[in-house]
């Protein structure tokens, strides 16, 4: 396959994710912002797919676009008292914007100065099976620790939402 197609796809996806992120910040409607977040997550999944990371792309779709987006939407909708409350005016925070711009500029400057070596995509893309073998032998301990982290998140969620007496 020629080189132009992946490059074009990359630019479309990059613009979709960056544009979505900007639109999410710029919109004054919180529900729209939640849907823009969903769009950014899907565009990111597209970038993973472009890198032939099929499983990672699907995890992105399932966990972020499927679960986290629903959680975000529920949170947003729960906090609204009326439908019209979704639209919120607030003044532009020039101070924060300046700090954010400085930070972004700094990062871009550092990247331009030091030019970290770009990682190469390997010749043959390892499949899910190879990934599983790696993860459950070499990375077995971090994997078990992940379950502890998930357990902590779960207990925290239950405790935070008040359990019985809410």
């Amino acid at each position: 396959m020629s080189e132009t197609l992946p490059v074009a796809a990359f630019w479309i996806l990059a613009l979709a994710s960056l544009g979505g992120a900007v639109a999410m910040m710029a919109t004054r409607n919180v529900v729209h912002a939640a849907f823009w977040l969903l769009e950014v997550m899907l565009a990111t999944a597209g970038i993973y797919l472009l890198l032939s990371a099929e499983f990672l792309a699907l995890v992105q779709v399932l966990v972020y676009a499927g679960a986290v987006a629903v959680l975000t939407l529920f949170t947003v909708m729960l906090t609204l008292r009326r439908r019209e409350d979704a639209v919120r005016e607030f003044p532009v925070a020039w101070g924060s914007m300046a700090i954010a711009s400085l930070f972004t500029g700094g990062i871009l400057l550092v990247l331009a100065r030091f030019r970290p070596a770009l990682a190469q995509v390997p010749e043959t893309i390892p499949g899910v099976e190879a990934f599983g073998e790696q993860m459950f032998t070499t990375w077995a301990l971090p994997f078990e620790l992940a379950s502890i982290v998930l357990l902590a998140a779960l207990v925290g969620a239950v405790w935070w939402t008040g359990g019985e007496d809410l």
Partner: protein
């Protein structure tokens, strides 16, 4: 022709094509369809056929939120299980032990949520 890269291209093409297809059919039906006269109630919400009572908004139960939090945790657990299941036949007994511990820890979490009443709809 059958390479993963080509398959991913097909996935992308279907996404784009689907969006275009919806836009085109909706546009075409707008061209074909008649436009009604503008009467006072024509653009009111339909709801169940009579004039709507009250604002078009209902406050949600917090029950939705508690489940959504649990859902995120268990979704992550589930995606961990997939690579494990794929490579299961290739590996020894220890992967089974590993996964038993992993599932046991999260099952304990589920049991805790159950005991604390987080799984009760309210």
């Amino acid at each position: 022709m059958q390479s993963p890269a080509f398959d991913h291209l097909v996935v992308g093409a279907f996404l784009l094509f689907g969006v275009v297809f919806v836009a085109v059919t909706v546009f075409a039906s707008n061209l074909l369809s008649p436009k009604g006269k503008d009467e006072p109630n024509r653009l009111e919400p339909y709801e169940c056929g009579v004039e709507p009572v009250g604002p078009p908004w209902v406050q949600f139960r917090v029950g939705y939120y508690v489940y959504a939090l649990l859902f995120v945790v268990f979704d992550i657990e589930t995606v961990f299980l997939y690579p494990w299941a794929v490579s299961f036949n290739k590996m020894g007994l220890f992967v089974l032990t590993e996964m038993t511990i992993f599932i046991a820890i999260l099952a304990a979490g589920l049991a805790y949520a159950w005991k604390e009443g987080a799984l009760r709809w309210r």
